[in-house]
Symmetry: C2
Subunit: 354 residues, 2 copies
């Protein structure tokens, strides 16, 4: 079994956690007997922008080719490039042009991770956030008028299409169907955002008819975030628009201790385009270059990628190694109350796997 | 001292918590020697809609007249009227037409309230959310196209004006200026929502120049919600757009135990129009009619209203009474682990005040 993977480390702590992700992947290839062919790309980072005035070469699709998956770090270095330019010219462009319309993110309280919520134990919090990843509030339609005057204004469309909404709901209902509790929660705000969100609700209601074995409910996003803190045990699969999914998939991991360990898959379910796996966290300029970033978000993303590639055993092996390390306070990084460096933590996990 | 106030109870638990708010206000008038003239309005509720096909009479502005303030419960009864119709025809219309452009909401961990965050004590969490309340993501511009076909789509504009953004930022910077820590946090999402949110950031940066004594920072909304859970102690005043402020002002109170006690002021700072005070919670159809709702959101809103009217001592008296009752587990409502009814809780607070 040989898989081509594209590797893009990005900026900031992306450059520090990526080598740890690779270290663990390589340990997995040795232990589970498969091969990964890595192709590293030196674009989609702000140094590239500084040299070329753009985040990626014009022929980036050709450069990337047809890998089995893309393994991605984190992008953004606002001292060189404003975030909206660096992100729209890299990660957000990849998601859209590769039609990775599912952004899948687990929220799981792991043994050994100090939980900021009082009295919660591993097992109490265990759900998935399914985020629409190509349209909605992340739109490129809009602009500015009366610039520089008192009448200055900016407009930006939120755009939801039936195709875009239905396909993410279908994915979410099917995921819920495979879970023991079979419960889907929809994030809405139809009381306030009164044009797009009632449409979202309508499509949820229509789609639910095709999945009579799945229970479902909906919460407005404001009270939904409140319930992540107050009653995290009630969630099984949570589906949301691009923005709501973005918020919930940072808040969820925070409720389980840190966003430093959370992974994500940007998935093109049809497989016409490569899917992309990356930690939920960003490039974190404030802690970059200090060898203190938690590499587990990157390493757990490696496990998600192997799962996606069909290397289920290797994926499970990585997660067992992660759990083993998390249980030992001395092996944890700073965000989890430990003092291990990024490299030491990555090495412990690779060792646990070998 | 005599004040005219308009009273609108609304739907669901609004009808149950409003009498408790009034009970406590009346106790305050007796103890502090001022007079409130109440005018109750039987519109802005879904029963009114059922009879008249609209939420408020055409001449609602005349009906309400020129009260010193509006005391408001909660609106919405989705079995009769979809939420987006009932809310846009009542609360959201009042906010906009009375130009109540500030929505001010405290986030404070009170003694006696069980905190869902591990290890946090009263004093650790104490900040304000300042929410833009008239524009932004809550817009009425947009629509649906290709209805009923595969190409169906919905569009909705987010609209931010320089006037709208600058005036809320000014209010927030001035509030921060009065606080001991003098720190303003701006909620943004300029890396993803790349047209409107970079504009918001720009205006924050420009406005900050006029307040050199106020420190400020910004967080993207995703990591900001994470930090409400992980580091609530770092916040002093948090300013956000209509949607981000809505989310943060439910999440914040949840982090302090319950949204059942949180109040809000919908304020027209110039005083050309009446301001409106209401609990943060909604009409809660699931628990309505059971006499179990927490009346403290309504009662704390009464205190905010008195503060606004200049009855500072009475406002402080109500808050002391609330704190006295919260410290006694038996006097608390169900959401706070007690078993007191809505009425019993309201009565305890009125008694503590007298
Ligand atoms: C009921 C709803 C429209 C309202 C809002 O979103 O503004 C509520 O959540 C609030 O926070 O006052
Ligand atoms: C960096 C940013 C544009 C991105 C997003 O908002 O999608 C990130 O927060 C994420 O969740 O992957």
């Amino acid at each position: 079994r040989t898989y081509d993977i594209a590797v893009i480390a990005g900026d900031g702590i992306g450059k520090e956690v990526m080598p740890e992700g690779i270290r663990v992947l390589e340990a997995a290839t040795r232990r589970y007997g498969f091969t990964l062919k890595q192709k590293w790309h030196e674009f989609a980072n702000c140094d590239y922008y500084a040299r070329h005035g753009r985040m990626m070469p014009e022929n980036w699709k050709e450069e990337i080719g047809r890998p089995a998956a893309i393994f991605f770090g984190a992008v953004g270095w606002p001292d060189i490039v404003p975030d909206h330019i660096s992100l729209w010219g890299s990660l957000l462009q990849l998601r859209r042009e590769y039609d990775q319309y599912v952004n899948l993110r687990p929220v799981r309280l792991m043994e050994g991770v100090p939980c900021p919520l009082a009295g919660r134990k591993p097992g109490d919090i265990d759900f998935w956030v399914v985020r629409e990843n190509t349209e909605g509030e992340y739109s490129s339609v809009g602009g500015r008028m009366f610039e520089g005057t008192d009448r200055e204004m900016v407009l930006q469309e939120t755009i939801m299409t039936r195709k875009g909404v239905d396909r993410i709901l279908k994915f979410a209902f099917e995921l819920a169907q495979k879970r023991p509790r079979k419960l889907l929660t929809s994030a809405t705000k139809s009381n306030g955002i009164a044009i797009t969100m009632p449409y979202w609700d309508e499509r949820v209601e229509a789609m639910a008819k095709a999945y009579p074995d799945v229970g479902w409910n909906k919460f407005h996003i404001d009270i939904l975030t409140a319930n992540f803190v107050l009653k995290p045990q009630i969630f099984d699969v949570v589906v949301g628009s691009n923005l709501f999914g973005d918020i919930l998939s940072d808040l969820g991991p925070a409720c389980t201790g840190t966003i430093g360990i959370a992974p994500s898959g940007n998935i093109n379910p049809g497989g016409e385009h490569p899917s992309l796996f990356e930690p939920v966290h960003g490039s974190a300029p404030d802690i970059a270059g200090k060898n203190v970033a938690n590499p587990i978000g990157q390493i757990w993303s490696a496990a998600m990628m192997l799962e996606y590639l069909g290397e289920t055993e290797a994926a499970a092996g990585i997660m067992t190694a992660v759990e083993t390390v998390l249980k030992q306070p001395a092996l944890r990084t700073r965000d989890l109350g430990g003092s291990a460096s990024t490299q030491a933590c990555g090495k412990s996990i690779a060792d646990a796997l070998s």
